[in-house]
Symmetry: C2
């Protein structure tokens, strides 16, 4: 089924949002935890997490211009810290609920029934129930003038991962870690590993890598 | 298992690359198709596709500074067009193979055994075997000075999707479309839908949406 740009421009707003959000394929199912300068813990679900680089370790996400998520951005800019927490099958409904427009003074952790966890390194809250927890220090907000969104980048300052899902070479099997994927805006998916493939060389089809 | 930043900085390069690339969760498994100004068709596998916005329809990806992928960027800048093609279980080994350092004059399509497909709208090649094909016009390259990568953004100008996977509200079930997910650098995953969840409201836990 083919659609041209003028077909797309003629779609109603919600239909277009579902469709275009589907096109980028599977996305990270992540809760971002922050703390306001008043000490209120904030939680929001994000699906636009992107790997920026491994050395230094940098992760980013796209921030929309006018949404409830602005609490997240305000807190990051005010405190300098935030957390990424992978969404698992046990908490995906609570995670999705955190995207509702809760009042600024309400902790989404309490509102949706998730627990905070903290470290000695920074004050941003982790989601205790998440199997993969990542602490980040804010580095840069890069404006995207095309649509008034921005790319928010942080450097990884600590991680907490399930050792059982970790391979000898640093690869984390997200299936074993219980991490879900998101499709479009509201589809939650369980993923099963087909294979890892060896570093590609021109001479031959890549072989499968044994292990996790 | 907790790692601090100094633990991370002490890891060897490949281990750190696998680990940090795992942290962003599931990622889009996408082949980017381009054509050089000399008419050579280029194909590369990318896992950093990110949704930028639905209106106008904008998608982006992170371009690394020094890799074989530079052919992709050169072609995009020279011709102004590129394609995203979802990777399915039937072609993931060929897709991964396209990341090998083939010579500039070699078409990765021919080298790995995938077929080109074209439309009337632009000259960039699609992957015939992909179930979801997206044509894009280059809009902007945004440099990320932190690590010399950049965010490449294009606007969607046409799409070709499997109608059977499309819901009444524009949601595309990526499971039914056969789209795979990538974990870290080389892990390919098949995903199964758990549920779609309704738009979140503060009053109650989001309900499941019936349908695709």
């Amino acid at each position: 089924m083919k659609l041209t740009r003028s077909d797309i421009d003629g779609l109603n707003k919600r239909y277009r949002a579902h469709l275009i959000n589907s096109l980028s394929g599977f996305k990270s199912a992540t809760l971002i935890g922050t703390r306001s300068k008043d000490g209120c813990d904030n939680l929001g679900v994000f699906n636009s997490i992107v790997h920026i680089g491994a050395n230094p370790p940098l992760l980013g996400f796209i921030m929309r211009p006018h949404t409830v998520e602005r609490h997240t951005l305000e807190n990051i800019l005010n405190t300098g810290y935030f957390t990424f927490n992978h969404i698992t099958a046990g908490i995906y409904k609570q995670a999705h609920w955190s995207s509702a427009k809760f009042d600024r003074a309400v902790s989404e952790f309490e509102a949706v029934g998730l627990s905070t966890a903290f470290s000695d390194v920074h004050d941003a809250p982790y989601v205790e129930e998440s199997s993969v927890k990542i602490g980040l220090r804010f580095k840069q907000q890069i404006p995207i003038s095309l649509n008034q969104t921005s790319l928010i980048i942080g450097e990884v300052i600590e991680i907490d991962i399930p050792e059982i899902a970790l391979s000898d070479d640093g690869y984390l099997n997200l299936d074993q870690a219980g991490t879900l994927a998101i499709g479009a805006l509201d589809g939650y998916y369980k993923s099963t590993k087909i294979a890892r493939l060896a570093y590609a060389r021109t001479e031959e089809l890549p072989k499968e890598i044994d292990g996790n």
